[in-house]
Symmetry: C2
Subunit: 251 residues, 2 copies
């Protein structure tokens, strides 16, 4: 594996956890992106430096393999590496390890770079990718597309974008889409199941004061396993799609 890695440790605080004291998925992505932000800063490629060149990273896709989510008071280690890039996309891996050094979560993120003035994807400049030691390869890394929501059976919940949903990029922070997808599921289901796999795709940004709908349909594989499929929509526009795999929690 090419690339220069960066890592940091983090003690899980109570407000980063759900009612069962597990780290929440929205907070997981916040923590991951904090560590990749540190990595970029260390290499002299902070968001401010990029903004000075009219550039900003955007997240296109997440793919996650989750053995378990860390719990309140655990100290985790987050390692990240910019693995590979092509003309338009950069692929960054994250490994979350517990105190014994076991990898409990693996995440691959597909990033794109936009022109801030044009709000459009641009070609990745070599002098931005080179410091990470990322390997150039023409090939695309295929992240499985989320499956379609079964509209007839979907549960729906509506959200009105809040002031604190907006981040310094002036659009809804990526972690909020994850919160909206999960919140459309029943609390009992969330309490009794754990997420084992997720694939997500960002289609179009959501802005302040917009209204979105979170649609979720569920497929039962057997007594233990479920798949849920999710859309976040504003009107007819699909903003975000996701598919999650779940298994029943042990006693």
């Amino acid at each position: 594996m090419s690339g220069i890695s960066h890592s940091n440790t983090h003690l899980i605080h109570y407000y980063e956890c759900d009612q069962q004291q597990n780290l929440t998925l929205p907070m997981l992505v916040n923590l991951l992106l904090h560590v990749s932000g540190e990595h970029s800063e260390e290499l002299g490629l902070s968001d401010d430096v990029l903004a000075g060149r009219d550039l900003s990273w955007v997240i296109i896709q997440y793919e996650m393999h989750i053995k378990r989510l860390p719990q309140f008071k655990e100290t985790i280690k987050i390692e990240t590496i910019a693995r590979q890039y092509n003309k338009l996309f950069s692929y960054r891996d994250f490994f979350v390890k517990d105190e014994q050094g076991n990898t409990i979560i693996e995440v691959c993120v597909t990033f794109g770079l936009i022109s801030l003035s044009k709000r459009k994807l641009v070609r990745l400049p070599e002098n931005i990718m080179e410091p990470y030691g990322a390997e150039f390869s023409k090939s695309l890394v295929r992240t499985p597309r989320p499956q379609k929501v079964d509209i007839d059976k979907a549960q729906k919940r509506s959200y009105h974008v809040r002031y604190f949903d907006i981040d310094r990029n002036k659009h809804v922070n990526n972690s909020k889409y994850l919160e909206w997808t999960l919140d459309a599921l029943d609390a009992d289901f969330l309490n009794q199941h754990q997420l084992t796999y997720a694939t997500m795709k960002f289609e179009k940004e959501v802005l302040y004061d917009e209204k979105v709908e979170s649609l979720a349909s569920m497929e039962k594989i057997d007594e233990q396993f479920y798949v849920t499929n999710h859309h976040i929509k504003s009107g007819e526009q699909i903003n975000f799609t996701a598919s999650y795999n779940w298994k029943a929690k042990g006693e």
Copy 2:
């Protein structure tokens, strides 16, 4: 001042900030309560230990004096001390300091202790207060009551309690009430003004799936200064009240 103090430092992460890169008020209270939680744990009085005695701390009031909110990438020091207690209430102070040692925020929190099975305030046991070195005094510390909302002029926004709003106490986390109050104000107002003082009172807990309304009225003192008054209501029940003082941000 009596009491044994505890402190910790914290680096402000981007996801703890608003779109202007200042620490959000909801995240400020999360950080404060993390440090007081550490303090209790250090003294052998963690929430788990208390739960084993059918007890849990609840927040009754916050009073805050804010010179400025820290910014993204700043490292702050949070100091806390259990200052004083009486039959029913414990008063804890927090001091947030910047890297130069200047106190930028002072917060006084009034805590009560409830019986978990009865959901009712109980008398503070001496053997729970004594380890903190807090002074017993019969006198009540008066925290100014929030002013009433001017209903005729109030702005309103509705919220449906989400799965991730609920903490391990199975009710809405205290930081969410603050988010709801602020979110009812205009984004332009929030962007152009900074909070200088807050007094808040928790009246009745809100539970999962409940619907609440956030009402906010504004009083202009002069071109630079405003007071906003807030109610969080579920039906006719007032759950939370707050008054905030604001001043126009400098250039």
